[in-house]
């Protein structure tokens, strides 16, 4: 009900400035936004690269988590990470519709969490079973139930 008003406020805050390495690409409506993120330290896995995130908001945002995934575009690939599938799906507790999400989170704070998830990673690999996962998932993320077996992420 108030999702447009809340996103409008997030947007005006975004226009005032974002943390380093986070940029707004497009926010043409209150359904879908695109953001670019970069890892700022010398991590060789991501150095000099930019990645694009797609945010999808339901009318219940921010009570409900947004659907967030990496998307491919010109010069934008899916980052290698043991919790990021090669179709862009991100396995992050914060984005799960269970108790991970909190309505005080925002587009900016989600971008920062994903940025730091990349910063801390040293493994140049995909999650186990990436091939099968990519084959059977469509883009409806809400029904995906992840098993969080790694408490460090």
């Amino acid at each position: 009900m108030f999702h447009a008003k809340r996103l409008q406020k997030e947007l005006s805050k975004v226009h005032q400035g974002l943390p380093p390495g986070i940029h707004l690409v497009a926010a043409n409506d209150f359904q879908e936004w695109q953001m670019d993120i970069q890892v700022l330290d010398e991590n060789p896995l991501y150095h000099g690269k930019t990645y694009r995130l797609n945010f999808k908001f339901s009318n219940n945002y921010p009570i409900e988590a947004p659907e967030v995934m990496f998307i491919r575009a010109t010069d934008r690939d899916i980052p290698m990470h043991p919790h990021i599938y090669s179709n862009g799906v991100i396995c992050l507790d914060l984005l799960s519709s269970g108790n991970g999400w909190s309505p005080v989170q925002s587009v900016e704070s989600v971008c920062m969490s994903i940025q730091s998830m990349l910063t801390g990673n040293t493994k140049n690999e995909r999650p186990d079973g990436d091939d099968q996962f990519v084959l059977r998932t469509n883009r409806s993320l809400r029904n995906i139930r992840f098993v969080y077996d790694d408490p460090t992420v």
């Binding site: 009900m1 108030f2 008003k5 809340r6 406020k9 997030e10 921010p62 009570i63 409900e64 269970g98 108790n99 999400w101 909190s102 309505p103 005080v104």
Partner: protein, 256 residues
């Protein structure tokens, strides 16, 4: 031959749903003639009259419904809307706030809409008082200008009036320019000024309606993620008064 009151009301509902407000109003009136003790007949007629811009009659119907059922959420809600249309924002606010309290107590699904209306009424109240203030100040400035012309028709008088107008213009601009809401009045979920803040056992305050929405999904404090249920919430009266005072002087903040 003659229809029962309940049937007349149902006929009215059919008309209302089809957008035939004149027809609906007639049926509800006939139902009331048959039975003037049913509050629903009055609230239904109030709603259709609200659509027909018959605001005085809406108020009559709502007051009758409230006499019959003092806890009538619909009656207070329509009453507030009619009072607002007629330009009585203070009365409208107390009716709408009463509707809000009833909606919370009755766990009505329309509580979100009613909360939004409360804020709209506060904005309207501020707009009306701003309008009055502007007229008052404008009259004051004009009178001063005339006095200067009358008592001091000397060289340079026109310039003096010009200066006076500049001063008023600047004061107005300063008032409009300073549009900031203190962070402590802002709900962390909606990012808006709070209407009815509640405080959790962890000391954080949220607007009641949205926090209850969140608790339906997850029994946690959104900021600390500690366990939290509706029973742990207490009204934060001091903060509510602060929000109320702020909106009284800064009605624009409702849309901010």
């Amino acid at each position: 031959m003659s229809m029962r009151a309940e049937e007349l009301k149902n006929q009215g509902n059919v008309c209302y749903a089809a957008g035939d407000y004149v027809g609906a109003e007639k049926f509800y009136t006939q139902a009331i003639i048959k039975d003037s003790t049913n509050a629903a007949f009055f609230t239904n007629r109030a709603l259709v009259r609200l659509r027909m811009d018959m605001y005085e009659q809406v108020i009559d119907d709502c007051l009758k419904a409230i006499d019959l059922i003092p806890s009538s959420l619909k009656a207070y809600s329509y009453l507030g809307q009619a009072q607002l249309k007629l330009g009585y924002p203070n009365e409208a606010l107390s009716s709408t706030l009463r509707a809000y309290e009833l909606a919370i107590a009755q766990r009505s699904p329309s509580v979100g809409t009613i909360a939004a209306t409360c804020l709209e009424v506060k904005k309207k109240r501020w707009e009306l008082s701003e309008e009055r203030r502007r007229t008052r100040e404008c009259n004051f400035a004009m009178r001063n200008a005339r006095l200067i012309l009358f008592f001091a028709p000397l060289p340079g008088t026109l310039e003096k009036i010009q200066t006076l107008e500049d001063v008023f213009g600047k004061a107005e601009a300063a008032r409009c320019g300073k549009r900031e809401v203190p962070d402590y009045l802002i709900d962390n979920i909606t990012f808006s000024v709070m209407l009815d803040p509640v405080i959790t056992k962890h000391g954080h305050s949220y607007d009641r309606v949205t926090l209850l929405d969140h608790l339906k999904r997850s029994s946690t404090d959104p900021l600390t993620r500690e366990p939290l249920t509706e029973k742990d919430l207490r009204p934060n009266l001091a903060l509510r008064a602060a929000c109320e005072t702020f909106l009284k002087e800064n009605g624009w903040a409702v849309d901010w």
